[in-house]
């Protein structure tokens, strides 16, 4: 019988990679920090692409009866803009932060399943590339990100089949990632890091992972049903055979409303980290913020039909979902007030991360308030499917999420790259972005109330809304300019800026700042022992008799003397198998489109990948 001591040396077709540097190491890495970076870079690339699509949309709508794009091109572009920003930018960008920061913030050396983590990333990337390959293979998805059948199931072009397959693949990536990160938070915390000592970012991360675990299977089923309808002529959403198109809408929004919180809660977490650091005060009402996040997670599953007020569910359902939608505004409001409470009385340093975070709160409030008008069901009969809704969710998802994520980028850049992004450029970016954002999406409230529907590729001058469309277009190009400023700043910083003089540049509060910048492969030389919320802060400061804070001389605190487990650090070895297993999945998807042989080949590759993975010990000796 084999025992642990006598596990035979790895054998097989591929020699196990061991290098942790060099270009090849990026393909085999299982280090959560490198994977976080991969997520970040990929997501940013998709952000640029999705942004260019948005610019095309705004260019087309810059004047009435424009012919820059035809209906077909426009429908593909607005669909891909939505899919890209949601599934290929905000979700993976959040995953980037979760991957990089959660282990550092809870005092762990890696995530629970490092190779599964790599697998998630590769599946996400390949799924995104698969989706984008549709442009070259007969046309991109053209039925909207919501893909309502029967339009999506009867459309004669191939796009929506790519949609179904592509989202199944990226969904798989998110599911695997979510299980991994949830287990990491639940199980890998440093000694003393109880649940209620976790940073709020970690809490929001945990809520998001649970939302993903429970929401994704629902959309997966809906997507499979759509795929079967499109590819094999089944009747799930076919009204001529008794099928009900509304089944899709219920399944879709049962996923897609929690998805909204999947997109926004990571930003909420980042804001909750940044505000205390730059106000030099603890988060106001930590437990309220945490519990409101959890409440949002739960209630988020009970409001899906507010996307369907106009589909004729009847007054009973509309009343019920109107009320639940009003209820979910309460925990959201709690967060806003607690953030204000955090800033109140503080000594507020407006460095770029703080500007971004405060900007996110201010903009999110506007999106939240227009959200309340949607809960007023009869008023929503007018607003739904107009630009008013487009304005609403961009205030939430751009104003809230994107500003928040940029805040995270500026806040953690020194941690990750050991350089500080230029503050002046950062502030220029912020103000251009804030102004551009409001010029783009503010007028959309007017456009919507003025009767402009969503997803129309052009509008007549007689609609009387040309001026505000032009303002919006100008705003969009300002946002593009601000993004360019960021890219310049990032490149310039990495080229010229010197290393950090101070490894704790913001005087931060949480554990990730206790290690070097960037952190060593093993994160912590010794696993920290945690005694309170804001552990790092309390190692730096103590209260005197009058309750004032005094700085503890370095090394004098008994907290600082980590009494962790120490000992030899075992880190998992890089591996090819996650990448190999991941490559099989888009291969299967292409097979579904073109040939059963390809399905077989893809399945074989995936099974071989998993087999190799299972046979390979996590740590090579």
């Amino acid at each position: 019988m084999a025992t642990a001591a006598s596990v035979p040396a790895p054998r097989g077709i591929i020699r196990r990679p061991t290098a942790t540097t060099g270009w090849l190491s990026w393909f085999t890495t299982i280090d959560h920090k490198k994977i976080g970076l991969l997520y970040g870079f990929s997501a940013f690339a998709f952000f640029i692409i999705g942004g260019l699509e948005a610019l095309l949309i705004r260019a087309q709508l810059a004047k009435p009866d424009n012919t820059l794009l035809n209906a077909d091109q426009y429908n593909q572009i607005f669909t891909m803009h939505g899919l890209t920003m949601i599934f290929l930018f905000v979700m993976p960008m959040s995953a980037a932060f979760f991957n990089y920061m959660i282990p550092l913030m809870i005092g762990a050396r890696d995530v629970a399943f490092p190779r599964l983590n790599a697998f998630s990333y590769w599946v996400f990337l390949l799924g995104g590339l698969f989706l984008y390959s549709s442009w070259f293979l007969g046309g991109a998805p053209n039925g909207g990100w919501f893909g309502y059948p029967p339009n999506s199931t009867t459309d004669p072009t191939i796009g929506m089949t790519f949609y179904a397959l592509g989202l199944i693949i990226t969904g798989l990536a998110s599911s695997a990632g979510a299980i991994n990160l949830a287990v990491t938070v639940v199980n890998m915390r440093a000694p003393g890091m109880t649940l209620f000592r976790m940073p709020v970012f970690v809490w929001m991360g945990l809520v998001v992972q649970f939302l993903l675990v429970f929401a994704l299977p629902i959309i997966t089923v809906a997507l499979f049903e759509m795929l079967f309808d499109r590819r094999w002529g089944t009747h799930f959403f076919d009204p001529t055979a008794g099928g009900r198109p509304l089944l899709w809408q219920n399944l879709f929004w049962l996923f897609a409303h929690p998805e909204v919180y999947i997109l926004i809660l990571p930003a909420f977490g980042i804001i909750s980290e940044i505000l205390p650091v730059f106000s030099r005060k603890p988060l106001f009402g930590y437990q309220f913020v945490v519990f409101s996040g959890i409440a949002i997670g739960f209630i988020g599953f009970g409001v899906w039909a507010h996307h369907m007020f106009a589909v004729g569910l009847g007054p009973v359902a509309n009343t019920a979902f109107g009320i639940t939608t009003a209820i979910i505004a309460v925990p959201t409001g709690i967060k806003i007030f607690n953030w204000m409470g955090t800033m109140y009385g503080g000594d507020i340093h407006f460095d770029t991360p703080m500007l971004m975070a405060v900007g996110a709160v201010a903009m999110f409030v506007i999106g939240g308030l227009s959200g309340v008008t949607h809960a007023v069901v009869p008023s929503d009969y007018q607003q739904t499917d107009t630009y008013y809704v487009v304005a609403h969710f961009h205030y939430v998802l751009f104003g809230g999420a994107v500003f928040g994520l940029f805040g995270g980028v500026f806040y953690w850049w020194p941690k990750i790259f050991a350089r500080q992004l230029d503050e002046r450029w950062g502030k220029v970016q912020f103000w251009i972005m804030l102004i551009g954002f409001n010029l783009t999406f503010g007028p959309m409230h007017i456009l919507g109330l003025g009767g402009m529907i969503r997803r129309e590729y052009t509008y007549p001058a007689s609609l009387g809304l040309t001026f505000w469309n032009q303002v919006s277009t100008v705003g969009a190009y300002l946002i593009a300019l601000s993004t360019l400023v960021f890219v310049v700043n990032a490149v310039k910083t990495q080229r010229t800026a010197k290393g950090l003089a101070n490894e704790d540049p913001w005087d931060a509060r949480t554990l990730e700042w206790t290690t070097s910048c960037p952190p060593p492969v093993y994160n912590f030389e010794e696993i920290p022992v945690v005694h309170s919320i804001d552990e790092f802060w309390h190692r730096k400061y103590a209260e005197d008799k009058e309750g004032r804070l005094i700085r503890v001389p370095a090394g004098a605190s008994d907290h600082a003397a980590a009494d962790g487990h120490g000992g030899a650090i075992h880190l998992p070895t890089p591996s090819f198998w996650p990448l190999i297993a991941a490559v099989g999945l888009p291969t299967i998807a292409y097979g579904v489109l073109y040939s059963w042989w390809l399905v077989g080949a893809g399945a074989l590759v995936t099974v071989i990948g998993f087999m190799g993975w299972a046979m390979e010990p996590p740590v090579a000796e």
Binding site: P8, P114, R115, I179, E225, R244, H570, A614
Partner: protein, 204 residues
């Protein structure tokens, strides 16, 4: 996906004291519950909604499917026996029961393939009507899950044989067992909803 620090360090230090793999497996199965939940909901929603035949009552052979269901349930028993053997470090017997479990699973899947074929010959295809659509997709998804389970069982046997399992062989067996029992329980629900609850042929 047996990827855990449990393999590297037999005594795993976790916040909850539970092995991470076990937590992950539970989360995975919770997610799977919603997957099958959505599929079963679709089936139930479309009960009696077919506009043409054949209808379930014309085509089901409850006795045949009962037997194959019993075979699948029996495989849960052999799975338990395998785990018991593993815990007693009787690895030969453990492998024997694993093989038995896989064989029972294969019998079930084989039965399903036969059932599908005979239904097809009686005129029910994936595209015939809503019943065909929902029936094949729901039971097909389940069949794929059983097949994946069989692959996992056989892999366990192979790895145990080759001495590539960690010292504590009971752990991976327990994990695969969790999955296997889950798939069995789901079948009980599907069998009840699809086969046992009678579904009248729509009038006209």
């Amino acid at each position: 996906m047996a990827d855990t620090t449990a393999h590297a360090a037999p005594v795993e230090h976790t916040s909850t004291g539970l092995p991470s793999t076990k937590l992950a497996m539970w989360l995975f199965l919770a997610s799977e519950c919603l997957l099958f939940g959505a599929l079963i909901t679709t089936y139930v929603l479309y009960r009696g909604a077919s506009t043409t035949g054949p209808y379930p009552s014309e085509i089901f052979d409850i006795r045949y499917t009962s037997v194959s269901s019993f075979v699948l349930l029996a495989s849960s028993l052999t799975m338990v026996l395998s785990l018991t053997a593993a815990e007693k470090r009787d690895f030969a017997r453990m492998r024997l029961w694993l093989v038995a479990t896989a064989l029972l699973g294969m019998t079930f899947v084989g039965g399903q393939v036969y059932e599908f074929t005979s239904f097809y010959h009686e005129g029910l295809s994936l595209t015939t009507n809503l019943f065909g659509t929902t029936f094949y997709v729901l039971t097909g998804f389940h069949g794929v899950h059983v097949t994946v389970g069989i692959l996992m069982l056989l892999s366990l046997v192979g790895m145990s044989w080759a001495g590539r399992l960690p010292d504590d062989q009971a752990f991976p067996v327990e994990m695969v067992g969790l999955y296997w029992h889950f798939v069995d329980i789901v079948w009980i629900v599907i069998f009840t909803v699809v086969y046992l609850i009678p579904q009248a042929k729509p009038a006209g």
